[in-house]
Amino acid sequence: MSRVLKRMSLISRLLVVISIGLLVSSVVAELYGAKLSTEFSRNVPANPQLASLLAIAALTSEGRVEVTVEGADNVYYLKVAGDPFLLAQQFRSLRLNVSNVRSNLDLRAGVSFTSIQVESNPFLVQALSLLGNVIPITEKRENVSRISERIRSDASLLIIAVRDTPGQIKYDIKYRIEEYDRLSAPQTLIASFLMIALAVAYEYYRRANNKTS
């Protein structure tokens, strides 16, 4: 193999190597590649002293997120830049008492869901408004609030749910990825073969030229 490579020009070698790399990454993508939607649900305890926060962070993807929040008396949301790990730091810098941080990463959907419990106080919403524009949900049906928002890469949707009495808050999230597309396996195969053919043709041309000169 090494002897064959030594006879080839740099351009041909790069073409062959890149075509093999393209095939390998295409096979990985077909077997374990990105998925275009995901769902997540979680029940969290809440009471008047303990508000619940849910951060949906589009780490690598972007798309539309639909959230239903059940069992909360007041629901607010805001969009912030950065991932949930940065958010936890920002909460601490706002002197909010953060506890019970639980994160679920869905790598194949490029999104993470993090639930956080925050010590509730009358200035919680005011403090969070320092991070972004806090929007209250005013319309509720059968104690269920709905949020539908588009989030872009490296941004998070933060939902704050507060209960006036002790109980559970249930989150149901559907996330649909938008604006994602990649070459199909047959297209990749054609592209790889074209590159190898180009390398062979170039080598043939180069050697023919060397012989004549």
């Binding site: 190597v17 093999i20 790399g21 393209l22 990454s25 990105a34 798309g63 990749t188």
Partner: protein, 247 residues
């Protein structure tokens, strides 16, 4: 002194640096694995895709520059090939520039470009959303790799020993990365913005990425690594032209 002479020296040295099968295996691995890392996630931004693919590639590029660039240069000195180069009818300054191009710039450009080419083919609809941003981030990675490569080359010229320059290069790489992390940590713990920002600025790809994704990056932070690159470039050319003589 014609351009042909420059081209011949550059061609011979580039052929030595990029000889098979080392480069081929490295590119195959970094390109396939770097782009596979991207395809297992639904990446919709060219900046994010470039970052995911090139972060591990930069590590591979640094090792390649330490072995082929730095230790390879020490071998050229030990074996007397540099003395042969010095007998060519070109000045020492252009020769130093040619050696920097062939030992640092060309390998960095090629190793870092390989995963990007695969990504551009595989995720063309994503990558073509902002090709200038992907290119900007690629340049960020290129400058970072060049910084490592120039530092390694300086060690090779100074030590003139393959093993010493190889060891110094790998040590310097880890020291640089650790120093950046330490400055960031210290800056955060003592709440000193300047120290933290210097730590951040030591990794140019992060600065370019942040400026595209979040903003809030200062101009001096973007110029920090390129300035060190220019300084090391001038230092190497100066050192080579002063310390190397035709024997």
């Amino acid at each position: 002194m014609s351009l042909r002479t420059y081209y011949n020296i550059l061609y011979v040295d580039v052929s030595d640096v990029l000889r098979p099968p080392g480069l081929d295996v490295l590119i195959l691995l970094v390109a396939a694995l770097g782009s596979a890392l991207v395809t297992i996630q639904p990446v919709t931004s060219p900046v994010v895709a470039t970052r995911i693919a090139l972060d591990p590639t930069l590590f591979a590029a640094a090792l390649f520059l330490a072995v082929r660039g730095s230790a390879g240069m020490a071998y050229l000195i030990q074996s007397g090939i540099v003395n042969v180069y010095l007998t060519y009818p070109i000045g020492k300054v252009p020769l130093a520039v040619l050696l920097i191009i062939s030992r640092v710039f060309v390998p960095s450009l090629i190793v870092l470009a390989a995963p990007l080419v695969i990504l551009t083919l595989l995720l063309s609809s994503v990558m073509l959303k902002g090709p200038e941003k992907a290119l900007g981030l690629y340049l960020g990675f290129f400058f970072q790799a060049s910084l490592y490569g120039l530092l390694f080359l300086l060690f090779a010229l100074r030590s003139r020993s393959q093993s010493t320059s190889g060891l110094l290069s790998v040590s310097a790489y880890f020291a640089y990365v650790a120093l950046a992390l330490i400055l960031q940590a210290i800056g955060r713990s003592i709440d000193n913005e300047l120290v933290r920002k210097v730590g951040d600025a030591m990794y140019l790809p992060e600065m370019v990425y942040s400026s595209y994704m979040r903003g809030g990056v200062e101009t001096w932070q973007i110029l920090f690594v390129p300035t060190i690159v220019v300084f090391l470039f001038v230092l190497i050319v100066w050192y080579f032209s002063r310390r190397f003589e035709v024997v």
